[in-house]
Amino acid sequence: MKIIVLLKRVPDTEAKILINSKGSGINEEGVKFIINTYDEYAIEEGLKLKETVGGDSTVTVVCMGVEESTEIIRTALAMGVDKGIHICDAALEKATPAVIATVLAKAIEDNGFDIIFCGKQGIDYDMAQTQAFLAEKLDIPQVNVIAEFKISEDNKKVFLLRRIEGADEKVEADLPVIISCAKGLNEPRYASLPGIMKAKKKEIKKLTLADLDSSGASEEKKSTIINWLPLPKSGECKIIEGEEPGEKAVELARLLREEAKVL
């Protein structure tokens, strides 16, 4: 079985994110970059599936991103992934999900695939679109944000559980399929030291747009970010006044709903 896992390099969850001096993006100075958190669950599920299915199954990570992304690919290889594909091309720097999907689809088709795992979203732009765009390009079904994964005996069907609002949704899907993963699905393994040693010898195939013969990047731009805005400063604590506790509670509920918008 050919298992594909999508990988993205993003700023560390703990990093302080500030707008750059031009106001055209974030200031990357001093920011540590990591494997997109949700992609770790995708890697783990891919590796687990390989262990389940056995045979000559392979797990291949596909990563589009800057030169430095090699390091996260290497980490995935150290976790047990067999092979890496790194698509690195300056023309893709600000690619939109549609373009990314076009390019990824080409690389994945060239490699061959039976199932694709990805994170539920990148923790940088938080768009959560690439999966669906890619599914459409490859003409395969998609299942989003799963909490449980099982495969049929004949490896042709998957049984999934999606966490939706206040309920779990059981989903059945035919292979090939693309599945997005989130926290709770599994406990991603560490890159072990023997794994790090072995990773040195594994292949990372480097591709540019020319190699992929992909017209995707020439697609015209469909959207533009016109402003980067910082978070509004958190103000003073608003002490809710009232005659008696019930009255204060009513006012609090109103503020939480209408002002803070958390209810």
Binding site: T70, E71, R74, T75, A78, Y190, A191, S192, L193, P194, I196, M197, A199, K200
Partner: protein, 387 residues
């Protein structure tokens, strides 16, 4: 500071960091409070390769070397110094000694199980009358046919009650103080081996420290490392690397103390001001971070020098002396920044304060390090600029 780690070193550091922050942090508070040894943690450390870091692949090791071991111990120490000391003893004392002084047969027998973490190693050197003064060891080993018979007891053996492999130093020649020692591999199920007093310590509570008692303990001749009379050389050779381990432990504790201090000082307000904005706090922080980075330079240099196969006696002693002293000062300053709450067990700094004290004592006190350093530097002068 940028220490120009290779991709592989960064990956290893990240694995150690992640393991410390997730798996270890999840149990560290409780196991230190209750004084519990976390067997599961060592099992995981073994699976990840941290217990065979300096061993060749043919013995199941990963052969990453002393510098990578230092990076790993540093990360583990940030979260649990007790676990770090066990890793240090296991790798730099036990594994190193067996690799360098064991026969092929002994290496094949013991190293794979040590590398995989199937069993832990302990180092039984100290006795009630032989601390810094190794030449005063009294535990005796008498050859009787195919065995040695050991009698005596060893103190302050880290994880001595959990280990499956114990390196024991004993006297084979009562007449020859320094050249009359030998090192043996002892397994807990050898007849005559028992565990004595379990120490109640001030800190490092998630790692046990015990007395080991040998009453006519039968050890096969094959388990003698190198030969009779080599004991002192083996003990000191092991400590050369062990001291880098302890120095790395100092780095991790110092980093944790610095992190805690800055985190706390940013939150804490007094007189309407965050205490991090007071000059008294800032000067402390400046001193702390400078001492920490200076320690790192020394410790990393020592580890890299050992990886190049150089004689590191003076450098490792300097690294240990400086970094463990610095760690004690940094932890002390961090606690002072915390004020009253730092004195309660609610805050990590309280544990760090208790743990860090051991570092200037074990594997050679600061005083011993100074003896070593001065002896070595005077030797160098005597050679280069004779009187």
């Amino acid at each position: 500071m940028n220490y120009q780690l290779s991709e592989e070193e960064r990956m290893l550091q990240k694995t150690a960091e992640d393991f410390a922050n997730k798996s270890l942090a999840a149990v560290a508070v409780e196991s230190n409070e209750r004084g519990e040894f976390q067997e599961d943690i060592y099992k995981q450390l073994g699976e990840l390769g941290f217990l065979g870091m300096t061993l060749p692949e043919k013995y199941g090791g990963v052969d990453f070397g002393n510098f990578c071991l230092a990076l790993s111990i540093e990360q583990i120490s940030r979260v649990c110094a007790s676990t770090a000391v066990a890793i240090s003893v296991h790798n730099s004392l036990v594994n190193w000694v067996i690799l360098n002084f064991g026969s092929d047969e002994i290496r094949e027998k013991y190293l794979p199980m040590l590398a995989s973490g199937e069993t832990l190693g302990a180092y039984a050197l100290t006795e009630s009358n032989a601390g810094s003064d190794i030449g005063s060891i009294q535990t005796s080993a008498v050859r009787k046919g195919d065995n040695y018979i050991l009698n005596g007891s060893k103190l302050f053996v880290s994880t001595g009650d959990k280990a499956g492999v114990v390196i024991v130093f004993a006297r084979t020649d009562p007449e020859n103080r320094n050249q009359g020692l030998a090192a043996f591999i002892v397994e807990p199920d050898f007849p005559g081996f028992s565990i004595g007093k379990v120490e109640k310590k001030m800190g490092l509570k998630a790692s046990s420290t015990v007395e080991l008692v040998f009453e006519d303990c039968v050890v096969p001749v094959a388990n003698l490392l190198a030969e009779e009379g080599k004991g002192m050389e083996i003990a000191l050779g092991g400590l050369d690397g062990g001291r880098i381990g302890i120095a790395s432990q100092a780095l991790g504790i110092s980093q944790a103390a610095l992190d805690e201090a800055i985190r706390f000082a940013r939150e804490r307000k007094q007189f309407g001001t965050r205490i991090i904005d007071f000059q008294s706090t800032r000067w402390k922080i400046a001193d702390m971070v400078t001492k920490l980075e200076a320690s790192r330079l020394l410790v990393y240099a020592a580890a890299k020098s050992r990886d190049r196969g150089e004689v590191t006696t003076k450098l490792t002693s300097m690294a240990k002396l400086f970094s463990t002293r610095a760690a004690n000062e940094i932890v002390n300053d961090s606690l002072q920044i915390h004020g009253g709450v730092g004195y309660t067990s609610e805050f990590l700094i309280e544990r760090l304060y208790r743990d860090v004290r051991a570092l200037e004592i074990y594997e050679g006190t600061s005083e011993i390090q100074k003896m070593v350093i001065s002896r070595e530097i005077i030797k160098e002068y005597d050679r280069i600029f004779p009187e």
